[in-house]
């Protein structure tokens, strides 16, 4: 999913984060192994962040400057948010890898949303609890059947979306997400967790 032109940016952020994790100092060799980018992208990335005064290079080792430490903290924080976000449902190691994939692409706002979503997911209540025309935020979709889960997700019913109940029927609810309306069975709605807005 990572585009060519992004590769260098990703490498830069990875280097900074890794350095941050290693208390600000590491050998280039170990960094290169850890960061897993192509050699050319790696050396260009190193060159670039040195130019930006984020790291110092000495004896084939890199260390973070003060400016670099701040930047690395920031990246690490993003990483942790994403990682935390996926940790519960996906296990620690995997959440770590997902964080690798997403962190570079998420906007500051998306990260913020994730952070608050993560903190909220425990508080979620079943979608069925919303009254008609009440609005909520989807914080968790805990459907046990994976195929059904994929169907729900691919229809655009996803964590982090705002949802409004547009009506109820005996067998389920009618919901609205981003201008789209759906009829959702109660057996599905039960697993969609939301928190009320406001």
């Amino acid at each position: 999913m990572i585009k060519k032109e992004d590769e260098q940016k990703v490498a830069e952020e990875d280097i900074l984060r890794t350095l941050g994790e290693k208390n600000g100092d590491a050998s280039l060799k170990s960094l290169m192994e850890e960061v897993q980018s192509s050699g050319s992208a790696f050396s260009r990335a190193i060159e670039n962040i040195e130019k930006k005064n984020l790291i110092r290079l000495e004896n084939n080792r890199a260390s973070l400057t003060d400016k670099g430490i701040k930047k690395a903290d920031d990246i690490l924080r993003k990483h942790l948010v994403v990682e935390n976000y996926f940790k519960e449902s996906r296990g620690a190691a995997e959440a770590h890898s997902i964080a690798h994939i997403f962190e570079h692409r998420l906007s500051e706002e998306a990260i913020k949303n994730m952070e608050s979503l993560y903190n909220l997911r425990e508080k979620g209540e079943p979608l069925l609890k919303l009254k008609p025309y009440e609005e909520g935020l989807i914080v968790n979709i805990a459907l046990p059947d994976s195929k059904l889960f994929e169907r729900v997700v691919s229809m655009g019913i996803f964590i982090g979306e705002k949802v409004t109940v547009a009506g109820k029927i005996p067998g389920g609810v009618i919901i609205k997400i981003k201008n789209k309306k759906f009829v959702v069975d109660k057996n599905i709605a039960e697993y969609i967790r939301v928190i009320k807005n406001g």
Partner: protein, 628 residues
């Protein structure tokens, strides 16, 4: 000559069929609800000396093996030789369209995006940066409007070069999944499809792809290794893919302004989806629709009857010689078809088209669910059943929107009680015309009763596990007269090309049988049925012909009893005749469609059971009526 084969793919109701019609001229039915297209239509056309074929497919949100329609699309994409795909996308909900696109790109199939509903998006304050999306994905993104034909030429131009396109973008999963992918890849047999793609499908649990694995045990051990970090790998894959789709969409989407307050769509929905107003308004609309149908149908029927009988007497065929008899009989058949059936068929499809395209019909599903749910009937059954009021054949096909074969068969069995236009023509044109409108109304009521009893009986005997309801409601739209007429014609075409000739042949056959006096040979052995129904023996002729084609029933009844039916049959007999001929599989085409959908054995058993049930029911009712 160069050939290019292109598949149109996209979520339901996104405008694939509209785009097909815009590319090659009106060919397929377009309606404003998801699940209009249930089978693949292939259309060829030559552009710039290149023979292009386009395949319209049923809409899908994702390529997984859930419902019948999805399997159809999946098959085309992965088992046929195709050159490329147009992913018809919704500018107002881009991430959903990108989800399917990502799945297709994983299979290394070259794709272009046809971005639809650009104007709708703009009015909602959403702007899509096509250039940015193009750059991110490495494929062409072309804004289109199938109604105004905007962007169609650009789309065609980019399709001409699609063969040379290489898929560059690729979804990357986390390290553990990637490792599993490469482990599976190394064990796969050689195929046309990319190994990475097959591996992902296998990890997602798509059993159709297990066949590429030499040894299924490998999968178990790989999954076991993963189980600690990915206890549910299939959903992790889905989440990653959707996450990437929404990131891509977010990057390319610009919110220019946000719309404040409720629009008209919301206001209408507040009424139509309301707990008590919804059902009331639905009933009201249905009653008005049927009132209009019956009133105008009756009016047209009398006008056409006058015209055709004038025409027949103008021809002045004596009916003395054999050829004369055959000619006279087949012309009577033709006249009956034109005057009795045509008006109802024609009007029904215009009214149905109107309700479909405005988006009202799909709100009926919601209200029907409140009612149907009690009988164990899924709300999704509403559309096939409504289509069944037109013709049982496409309605049987439309049952594919249901999630399982079992559910599909269950719903199809109810089409025995939904009077198609040919059966409505008998009820209105024979029962109503000769016995009075009240009697016709009783027949409709009786059908409803028969269906309810059937529902209860079947609920006891045949366990249908209900798939959970998950359905998108389309927006309300301004209906387009051109589209309503066009699809009215597609749906009526068969009636004109198949039914009317059949009526003529049927008439002629009866003429010959009658002239040689062999009808009694058919009539005699079956008199058990007619006496059970309390009808004159000869009425078995129209009933039997009715098994072949319901429209023959009316025409044949006139043939065997003369045109003054009310003096030969009592009102009760007219009523029983109406009920007996209205329940069951209405024609040989519907029977063939049942075979196609459910196999010979199920088709035969449903047909015999439903026809038997109809006759039994009509006879029993008769006895009950006589008790009082």
């Amino acid at each position: 000559m160069d050939k290019i084969k292109i598949v149109l793919v996209g979520q339901p109701n996104v405008g694939k069929s509209s785009l097909l019609n815009a590319l090659v001229g009106p060919k397929v039915v377009i309606s404003n609800y998801p699940g209009t297209t249930v089978e693949v239509t292939k259309v060829q056309k030559t552009f710039d000396g290149i023979e292009m074929s386009f395949l319209d497919t049923p809409g899908i949100y994702s390529i997984s093996d859930r419902s019948e329609e999805e399997k159809v699309t999946e098959k085309i994409l992965f088992e046929e030789e195709i050159d490329g795909v147009i992913v018809v996308s919704d500018a107002t909900a881009l991430e959903r369209s990108l989800y399917v696109l990502l799945q297709i790109m994983e299979a290394d199939i070259p794709a272009v995006i046809a971005l639809n509903f650009v104007e709708d998006a703009r009015s909602k304050g959403i702007k899509i940066d096509c250039k940015r999306l193009e750059k991110a994905l490495g494929i062409s993104v072309i804004p289109i409007n199938p109604i105004t034909k905007k962007g169609i030429d650009d789309l065609l131009n980019s399709l001409l070069r699609i063969k040379d396109k290489k898929v560059k973008f690729r979804v990357e999963y986390d390290d553990h999944i990637e490792e599993a992918i490469s482990q599976i890849s190394s064990k796969l047999k050689e195929t046309r499809l990319p190994k990475r793609f097959i591996s992902v499908r296998i990890l997602e649990g798509d059993e159709d792809f297990y066949k590429y694995l030499g040894d299924e045990k490998i999968l178990d051990s790989i999954k076991k290794n993963l189980s600690e970090k990915h206890p549910k790998i299939d959903r992790d894959i889905a989440v990653t893919r959707y996450g990437i789709a929404s990131l891509l969409a977010e990057e390319a989407t610009q919110i220019v302004h946000t719309v404040r307050g409720e629009d008209i769509q919301e206001k209408v929905d507040r009424l139509l989806l309301h707990r008590s107003w919804g059902p009331v308004i639905t009933m009201l609309i249905l009653v008005i629709t049927f009132g209009v149908l019956l009133y105008l149908g009756n009016l047209l029927q009398s006008i056409l009857m006058d015209l055709t009988s004038n025409f027949l007497s103008f021809l002045h065929i004596t009916g003395n010689s054999m050829p004369d008899i055959v000619l006279a009989r087949s012309l009577t058949g033709l006249a009956a078809g034109i005057s009795i059936a045509l008006p109802y068929v024609f009007l029904f499809y215009l009214l149905l088209g109107l309700l479909e395209d405005m988006g009202i019909l799909s709100r009926f599903i919601v209200n029907a669910e409140r009612f149907f749910g009690k009988f164990g009937m899924p709300g999704k059954a509403f559309i096939p059943l409504a289509l069944g009021l037109g013709c049982t054949v496409p309605a049987t096909k439309a049952t594919r929107v249901l999630s399982s074969k079992r559910e599909q068969f269950y719903v199809a069995s109810f089409l025995s009680f939904v009077p198609c236009s040919s059966r409505t023509a008998i009820i209105m044109g024979v029962v109503g015309f000769y016995g009075g409108i009240r009697l016709a109304f009783y027949v409709f009521l009786t059908l409803l009763m028969a269906a309810l009893i059937w529902a209860f009986a079947i609920k006891k005997l045949y366990h249908v596990s209900r798939e959970p309801l998950l359905l998108e409601l389309p927006p309300y739209r301004k209906p387009l007269a051109g589209n309503i007429l066009a699809k009215g014609w597609f749906r009526m075409k068969d009636f004109i090309y198949v039914v009317i000739p059949l009526l003529m042949v049927g008439g002629a056959v009866y003429g010959i049988l009658d002239a040689y006096n062999i009808t009694h040979m058919v009539v005699q052995p079956l008199s058990v049925i007619t006496s059970w129904l309390g009808l004159p023996d000869v009425t078995i002729i129209p009933l039997t012909f009715g098994f072949l084609q319901k429209d023959l029933t009316g025409a044949m009844l006139v043939s065997v009893l003369g045109s003054n039916i009310s003096s030969v049959l009592t009102p009760v007999q007219i009523y029983t005749f109406g009920v007996a001929s209205a329940i069951g599989i209405p024609c040989i085409n519907a029977f063939a469609m049942l075979i196609r959908e459910f196999g010979f054995r199920r088709a035969v058993s449903l047909t015999t059971v439903s026809i038997g049930y109809g006759i039994l029911f009509a006879g029993l009712l008769l006895r009950i009526i006589f008790i009082f």
